[in-house]
């Protein structure tokens, strides 16, 4: 495995942690997920095709591991600790108390979405991927991405005090 592969992977870690946190909501579980994904990538670096995007590849590994974990844990109930959702970054992302409340609200709203919708929003709104890239990461048709995105927003916007999300 080349040094540049390892170096590229380290450089991706902050974004992978962000993605994992937007999925998991719990900082420690999110880091565990990133760690498991990196272990998997390091075990099978040949699965990465040079010339393709390593970030998409890693997002895919993360979301697959996360879904596996969710399936296993479904019987055990939710893995999201509400306290963690609300306090996960010690206010680092916001300067003002009202901003913190808003961001806590956003994290709470995100955590309340069904998995498939949360994935799509995490990739598009948090990670900034295009619909097409998101479809590739999730291995679903682009129309599926759009319909999940639309449903996610219908649920999310009212929770943020934004649009009613009901207009056609």
């Amino acid at each position: 495995m080349s040094d540049s592969f390892r170096r590229d992977l380290v450089d991706l870690v902050p974004r992978l942690r962000r993605f994992a946190r937007s999925l998991v909501g719990n900082a420690q579980d999110a880091d565990d997920l990133v760690q498991a994904a990196c272990e998997r990538a390091l075990r099978s670096p040949d699965l990465f095709r040079p010339g393709t995007r390593m970030d998409s590849w890693m997002y895919r590994i993360i979301q697959n591991l996360w879904l596996d974990d969710r399936r296993r844990s479904r019987t055990r109930g939710t893995t999201i600790d509400p306290d963690d959702v609300y306090l996960s970054d010690e206010g680092k992302a916001a300067q003002q108390p009202e901003d913190r409340m808003m961001l806590a609200q956003v994290r709470g709203a995100m955590a309340s979405l069904p998995d498939a919708q949360r994935q799509v929003l995490a990739l598009i709104a948090v990670e900034g991927l295009s619909y097409k890239e998101t479809a590739e990461v999730l291995d679903v048709p682009i129309g599926t991405v759009m319909s999940r995105l639309s449903r996610a927003r219908e649920a999310l916007l009212p929770k943020l005090g934004l649009s009613e999300g009901r207009r056609q």
């Binding site: 680092k92 759009m146 927003r153 916007l157 934004l162």
Partner: protein
């Protein structure tokens, strides 16, 4: 007719998400000009996207956790390379010292001494002009190590603006005594004064299994103080150099 009917939500969403080709986007912009309801919806989508991006942004301004770095690069990486030192927007990080032979990460047992609690070596209070520490605060760029006259090594971890001056995070390591002091010194309109001190015992730290991460909750020792005085985020090297050139005066 595009100008007279509301666009469907998916198209507005595609516009907000930057999915449309330039000419399609231009058509939507024209449409929005006389459809305030659609404009309001697009505004909401963009606000939600921005809020989502911000809500989970913390890891982008934190160093890569040591455990992950070791996993990917191998455990032989010296700690000096471990931390993305004063990462642009990192907030209140207790630092990782990259001193010779000491792979010490923060996040171990730390004790916080507030100004009246006292700490043996680096104590809260105004710093005398001409002292080593004062000189380092005035002129040492973040990330560089300076050896003080008593043999202790001092490093500035980063600088932050405050409403009435600046704060700088300092680490003073006395390897012979097995101590690492992290402190926050601020100007607050006058000369430099040490505001908060955090002491770590290096031996204890070195005995702990693993080296933890520098980005955990434990690394937030200075955050409450910084929040209370309304400090901003870490300055870029350029901004820091400019503040230094101005004598740290507002």
């Amino acid at each position: 007719m595009i100008r007279h009917t509301a666009l469907d939500k998916d198209r507005l969403a595609a516009f907000a998400d930057g999915e449309l080709a330039p000419e399609e986007a231009a058509a939507v912009v024209m449409h929005l000009a006389d459809h305030p309801q659609d404009q309001a919806y697009v505004d909401d989508l963009m606000a939600a996207n921005a809020a989502l991006a911000q809500a989970f942004a913390a890891p982008l301004s934190e160093p890569v956790p040591q455990a992950l770095r070791d996993l990917i690069l191998g455990p032989s990486q010296p700690a000096a390379e471990v931390v993305a030192f004063p990462a642009a927007r990192r907030r209140g990080g207790v630092a990782v010292w990259g001193g010779p032979g000491l792979a010490l990460a923060a996040g171990l047992a730390v004790a916080v001494f507030l100004p009246n609690g006292g700490a043996p070596d680096l104590s809260p209070g105004p710093l005398a002009q001409g002292s080593d520490l004062h000189a380092a605060l005035q002129a040492l760029p973040a990330g560089e190590v300076q050896v003080m006259s008593d043999g202790a090594e001092v490093m500035i971890l980063g600088s932050l603006p405050t409403p009435d001056g600046y704060c700088r995070e300092i680490e003073v390591m006395r390897s012979d005594a097995g101590r690492l002091d992290a402190a926050l010194a601020c100007t607050r309109g006058q000369g430099w004064a040490v505001e908060v001190v955090i002491v770590e015992n290096l031996e204890e730290a070195a005995r702990s299994e693993g080296f933890g991460t520098a980005s955990g909750d434990e690394a937030q020792g200075f955050a409450p103080f910084l929040d209370r005085i309304g400090a901003g985020t870490f300055m870029s090297p350029e901004d820091e150099a400019a503040a230094m050139a101005g004598g740290w005066l507002r």
